[in-house]
């Protein structure tokens, strides 16, 4: 699905990541962990093309992202669902419209998708809040809305950046549950998180691999988790 081959990323100050090689196989479940500032978000951004690697190459669905023009990049975003750390909604539109946004921008027939949208909103438990504006939502509700928006186009890959960052343990478990269900439906999942409790909880439900960033490199963490 997504393949990083000897990828390095550096900005003005110096190298953040170097020699990162990883393949997200179809249907796999990965955690990405590491201390704050280690480059988890950067690595995710490299995966969905928001950043370009300074060395090495990133392949998505068998094609090199470097050759993508802006329209191809837009098409790629429709195949990769992203749950951002800060969610990023259109604050003037109600939650249901925000969740439906990927459908709208890709020109889908909204009447035909109405039923799917309703089911998806029910699945993330936001039926009661569908008409609220994003700023009125709690942290957990925002995360669930962001997850619903990420999966509405039925993408092959789901990338989530600290999806449980601002929510309590119970809500974390609920979000994890949703992601595990998606993985069981065959989606490739990559979750960036520094919450070791969450990772342990996931390991009991799903065959998850843990990638750890330390010293600018990516390592496969052992059984100690």
């Amino acid at each position: 699905m997504i393949e990083l081959d000897n990828v390095g990323y550096s900005y003005g100050g110096g190298a953040l990541l170097s020699n990162v090689s990883v393949t997200l196989a179809p249907g796999s479940f990965h955690f990405l962990t590491g201390p704050s500032g280690a480059g988890k978000t950067t690595l995710l951004k490299l995966c969905y093309g928001a950043l370009e690697p300074t060395s090495g190459r990133v392949k998505a669905f068998e094609s090199d992202m470097r050759g993508f023009d802006r329209d191809q990049m837009a098409m790629l975003r429709r195949r990769i669902g992203v749950v951002h750390q800060d969610c990023r909604f259109l604050d003037h539109l109600p939650v249901a419209d925000n969740i439906a946004l990927p459908l709208v921008v890709s020109g889908r027939d909204m009447l035909r998708e109405a039923e799917n949208l309703r089911e998806l909103i029910a699945w993330v438990g936001l039926s009661e809040r569908a008409d609220a504006l994003p700023p009125e939502l709690s942290g957990g509700e925002r995360q669930r809305a962001a997850l619903a928006r990420a999966v509405i186009l039925s993408p092959d890959v789901i990338l989530a950046d600290e999806p449980t960052g601002n929510v309590d343990w119970e809500m974390s478990m609920r979000l994890l549950q949703l992601l595990v269900e998606l993985n069981r439906m065959g989606k490739t999942v990559l979750i960036a998180s520094h919450d070791l409790g969450l990772i342990r909880a996931a390991k009991s439900q799903v065959q998850a691999r843990v990638l750890r960033i330390s010293n600018r490199r990516l390592q496969l963490a052992g059984a100690d988790l």
Binding site: M75, R77, R88, L90, V104
Partner: protein
Amino acid sequence: MNRGTIRSYFIGDAQADRVVPPSGFTARLTLFAAGAMAFLAVFALALSLAAGRLADRWASELARSATLRITAPADQMAAQTEVALTILRQTPGVARARALSPQEQAGLLAPWFGPGLDLATLPVPQLIEVTEDETGYDAAGLRLRLAAEVPGAVLDDHTRWRRPLVEAATSLRRIGWISIALIGGTMAAMISLAAHAALAANAQVIEVLRLVGARDVYIASAFVRRFTIRALIGAVLGTGLGMGGVLLLPAASDEGGFLTGLGFQGLGWLWPLLIPILGALVAFAATWAAARSRLKELT
């Protein structure tokens, strides 16, 4: 761009329009700028068209007429006038030659001396109006013959003062067209600025749209459609007011001279109707360019 997309800009897509938050301030500014510019454009257009008509009229009417002035002692006046008329009628290229009556001459002098002037008390020269036919006459030859037979005659073919007038009217027309071009450019500049402001104010929205897989065309058209429609509405209002203003100007009349000829005549009234269309096209191009350059800066 195919016809389908152009049509969809104007019919719009209710969902796409809601994606960009409504913006009262830039909307009103664009509306006002487009309206004001269209209003000015109507007057510049009226000026250009009127100056064009004036230049054509002066060039054609004056070119085909000349005046023969006979200055002679009172007792010889009638005889010399008769000779001159005979010569003129014999000259090839002269369609008509007519001596002005004392009443007509008094009428010409009235603006200077006031009405009720008795011409008999003044040594006023006799004027003969000469009208050319299509081929025209040989002015130099006519002058030589008149000099020999009617010593007091002076032929004035009006070129002396016709040329600067035609030149003035022509440059007035040019200034009118330059004004229209400048108005169009100013409108493009104002709408570009407004579009840039709107795009900057909505940077967050654009970023979210890019993240969920919106193509540039989709994002740009949401803005382009808004600005084009606003400019069209503003320009329709401005053009309507401008045309109303032109309608209220006094009609062309002999008393007012060329100044009252400002306005549209006949089919000329169709010209200002192009202004809103051009205004909308200018807004379309300006917003499109602004959106394109802005979107390139984002990933």
